[in-house]
Symmetry: C2
Subunit: 169 residues, 2 copies
Amino acid sequence: MLCYNITGMRTQDTNAFQSHDHAACSSDALAEAERLCTQKGARLTPVRRRTLEILLEGHRALGAYEVLERLSAEGYGHQPPVAYRALDFLVDQGLVHRIRRLNAFAACVHPGEAHAPVFLICRSCDAVAEAPGQLIRAAAEEAAHALGFEIERLNVEALGLCPTCKGAP
Amino acid sequence: MLCYNITGMRTQDTNAFQSHDHAACSSDALAEAERLCTQKGARLTPVRRRTLEILLEGHRALGAYEVLERLSAEGYGHQPPVAYRALDFLVDQGLVHRIRRLNAFAACVHPGEAHAPVFLICRSCDAVAEAPGQLIRAAAEEAAHALGFEIERLNVEALGLCPTCKGAP
DNA sequence: CACCCCGATGTTATGTTATAATATCACCGG
DNA sequence: CCGGTGATATTATAACATAACATCGGGGTG
């Protein structure tokens, strides 16, 4: 997939900290999610799809209970497992990332593409951007192998100030 | 500080995955912690010190409630804030790290030394080692600056198999 | 068609982690 | 001796997460 938004920027290069055509950004992600699920034989059911849409509304991480509130207001189940199951599914499919620092979940903006995401979390406005982390992944592999450790999953989260909030703190 | 254990290895090079003189390893860390607190005018009070000792007993991360259980059995307070306060203090002082993936805390083995720790968490035996992460830190800074993001705190956690468990899973 | 299987959804109940708010205590300087 | 300060303790509750079990519907098989 390679597409352009109104600024002429490639979608995969957009991020939470740049102004961008968000409607396109999120509908692209959704379409891509559908494609991936079909391809893998995974079922993007209504709750799951709606959960993804909710997360795609903004480049923010939402807690499971925030998601649940939204879902239950729209007629889905009212109990925590409803949200957790949908979120777990989406995380398994690589469509959503879990942000541990926030105990929260954020939609992946370009699922399917090989990426080792680094999460940049603004402590002021709570926006979450994904930066490319291939270099970091490589550096981590190297450090780990020096100790004989085999990395299976890597999680990198940075807390700080986004460009906007840096200007106006 | 530069010291040697029975294998002739420098303490700062030991890690959770190597057999080492653990008594020395932890008493060194404790002594260093004391030195750092004195230097900064921070008070390593009995609860705080005992909390650190408990975490230093093994290269494992303990949950706040595990720590609390130990503390309360030894006559300290019985309520969660007792453990959380001590742990928060130790984290602030850089004597303990928080392992978010495990919702747990692990003692820092070589506090004071400039280090950008990468945590290697064995999913089989729960041991937690710190690997040097300067390169990773640098790579992250670079990726972040490309988006105009200012990193204040960086957390890198890898889940996988330690050398021992890799051999015998 | 009847049946069963299975995956998805729903609910109840509870477990686990973390913090707000408040009170007390010990020490130190004035 | 008094008041301020930082540490500690307690109560209560918020916030996050999962176990266990019930139900429902679609798809294949006898």
